[in-house]
Symmetry: C2
């Protein structure tokens, strides 16, 4: 049987060459329909969703002794079954969707129950997020921010090259793409005023990140090897770490960002599996100094994954690209992030979400936040129609996209979109 990543595979469903969801992808999500409003787990294929709850109920996918794990409002129960089941299930779904397999292809009644046009479906948050941790692992991003706030000579903090720096984020406000984002209020104290006021954020920003979805737990007090960490990673999503720069500036000393990041984090609805991304593995940047033993990796864990961000102001017809970068630039890999996270004995859970940190690249057009693009507001970005932006304004829609380009197909993520509503 061909491997599900085989570039030669074709589905019996027509998939456009620029679709994010060819048979080589098969990402997991949670959806519902007007006809059947209970959220359940599905896989994206072209412009369709394969309803896995139907597949399992009809005996076409066998997870025994587990049963009913796809009739859930999150993929957590499926993830808990572990990497062998993930792999076996993906192979089975691939087999069911292949152009030369008549089983589903030629069964009209089954197809009508099992395949849902994506445009008729409502997509939900795919993961019940247990814990949300946000890293800071792009050297270009950390350097840009450091230069802006501390000058060129002290741009990187002394610990940065020794460990993947991170903080705990707020899991309760992780939302799926398409959820509107209310402009947050908070304490603002610009340097030129004496006392803070409580007002709507004036420097609202996005941060382009990837999110790792952890699919297995690890015990309190334990540590993780490279292999263990890798096998715990179920997949990846696009992640927008919305940030209120002015709230952050006043609140973050000495305990780090809190409310400036707690109001919303958007993720894409489809979780692309680690297995589907394997053909796109590439070495990351050279790490110098050599990481301590507990962070060493013997295989590449970066991905050649193109990312772009576009912005559409309310008065614009089409979105305009404001950033085009690549996930491969990350200094610390997701596997290193996970090894570090567990290293003090911190228990990891099924459903943990790890933000990569803002993904900037070496070039100016590769900056992954408006803070960097507009260089802290001093160089507003020019959009079509004479529109300029230093930070996000009410009515702005921000869209992130990501994909790995194969030979004649792409393994893509769909989008992570959010539109800004005025403060209440």
């Amino acid at each position: 049987m061909p491997h599900p990543n085989d570039p030669k595979l074709r589905a019996f469903i027509d998939v456009a060459p620029d679709s994010d969801f060819p048979i080589q992808n098969l990402p997991y999500g949670v959806f519902s329909t007007a006809a059947y409003p209970a959220p359940r787990v599905g896989v994206a294929i072209g412009d369709q969703i394969l309803d896995l709850a139907v597949m399992e109920k009809d005996g076409l996918i066998d997870l025994s002794p587990a049963f009913g794990v796809f009739a859930h409002s999150s993929i957590n129960a499926f993830m808990a079954l572990g990497p062998k089941v993930w792999s076996k299930t993906r192979a089975r779904i691939s087999e069911l969707l292949r152009h030369d397999n008549p089983h589903l292809r030629d069964n009209k009644e089954l197809r009508s129950r099992a395949l849902v046009p994506m445009r008729e479906a409502k997509l939900h948050l795919p993961v019940a997020v247990s814990g949300y941790t946000d890293f800071y692992s792009s050297k270009e991003h950390a350097t840009n921010v450091g230069v802006m706030f501390r000058g060129k000579d002290n741009a990187l903090q002394p610990n940065w090259l020794h460990m993947p720096i991170a903080y705990n984020g707020r899991a309760s406000t992780v939302v799926v793409s398409g959820t509107t984002i209310r402009r947050p209020r908070g304490q603002l104290k610009p340097p030129n005023v004496e006392v803070p006021s409580f007002a709507p954020c004036k420097r609202l920003d996005f941060e382009l990140e990837m999110g790792v979805v952890v699919g297995q737990s690890s015990p309190m007090g334990g540590m993780l090897s490279e292999k263990q960490a890798e096998e715990m990673i179920f997949g990846f999503v696009l992640l927008n770490d919305w940030s209120a720069r002015d709230i952050q500036q006043w609140e973050y000393v000495p305990l780090g960002p809190f409310l400036a990041k707690a109001f919303a984090t958007s993720i894409s609805p489809w979780v692309v599996t680690r297995e589907a991304l394997e053909p796109f593995c590439v070495p990351g940047p050279e790490q110098n100094p050599t990481p301590l033993d507990y962070l060493r990796q013997t295989r590449p864990h970066n991905y050649d994954l193109e990312l772009d961000v576009s912005l559409r102001a309310a008065q614009m017809k089409e979105p305009a690209t404001i950033c085009h970068t690549n996930f491969r630039y990350m200094y610390w890999s997701s596997v290193q992030q996970l090894m570090h996270h567990a290293s003090s004995g911190c228990a990891m859970n099924v459903g943990d979400l790890l933000g990569s940190g803002t993904i900037s690249g070496p070039e100016k057009h590769q900056r992954g936040s408006l803070l960097e693009i507009s260089w802290n507001g001093s160089e507003p970005v020019e959009l079509p129609g004479g529109i300029r932006r230093s930070f996000l304004e009410d009515g702005d829609s921000l869209v992130m996209r990501g994909w790995c380009q194969g030979d004649g197909y792409r393994v893509g993520f769909g989008e992570a979109e959010g539109t800004i509503l005025p403060a209440e």
Copy 2:
């Protein structure tokens, strides 16, 4: 019917005058027994536990239309029913336990099923912790730490008097009293060495805190009034925010504490309700400058709640008290913390846990961490038998206790204990 807080009430069960659990308390916890190992919800009364799952099943407590909420491994389902049900249920439990109510008192068969000696029960983590946030709201603690690390003139950061500073903690490692604590490993880089090493923490500390258990949710994008915030608070626990000072020192710039606090947080097994603490409400310290409108409180929300910490090294027979302080000293109240937390639009969930921050007082014996007690290791604390401690050593057992002293009774919290195991 007398109010359940009435000091004159007596239970039909003998309760010692120094017991933490008289009929005026009635804290909720989760327990199991050898005979019946499924965890369920109970209330502490003297040295007994009243099994609420039995009470509800037998129709003595009526939560309809809800049913079966006490046959759970956490109190979350009960908390979700809201403050009116909390109050009504506590009044009903009080009525059932009163010395002059024969219903349970004289029903030997029912008593044998419904009352479990505490010494025969295993106590579990009472709350399924949704999110864990740790505040920093004792002015004395923040000042002590500031003086140590930045000198007297810059002790308090400029934002500290304007908002309850906090960071997101790690929910996955909140454990119940009695759970052993493995000494964490991490990156250490003392100022006198060039490069960090990965090694067991050498400066392991406790932090004496109270934890607020949030019993109701609030929507993303919303804010909370004083009354709304107050009514969302179900109750309080003792909380030990174990801290690896050396890991923290190297990792925390610029995003705050992460692994230094992620390895363990211990809480007491009994959640004392806000209602039971009401008679002990006292005004907090004067707040100057006046807080911004969104943080104003019109009623006192501090508590006269005595706290003490004792340490027993492996070679000691009896624990020795190393701190005696009071929750009343907190500069920011729990209600203000919750109003601040939601103010940016951060959704709160049933089961959120808010650490108060280390509770120090104005006197030297009121310092709530070894960092402060030993003044960063320069003044080790002297224990009986010539034992000295700057930080915690393997085998040390640390016990926190807390209680409100009434006239002839106390509303207490039991204890939050943890014993240090060597690093693996």
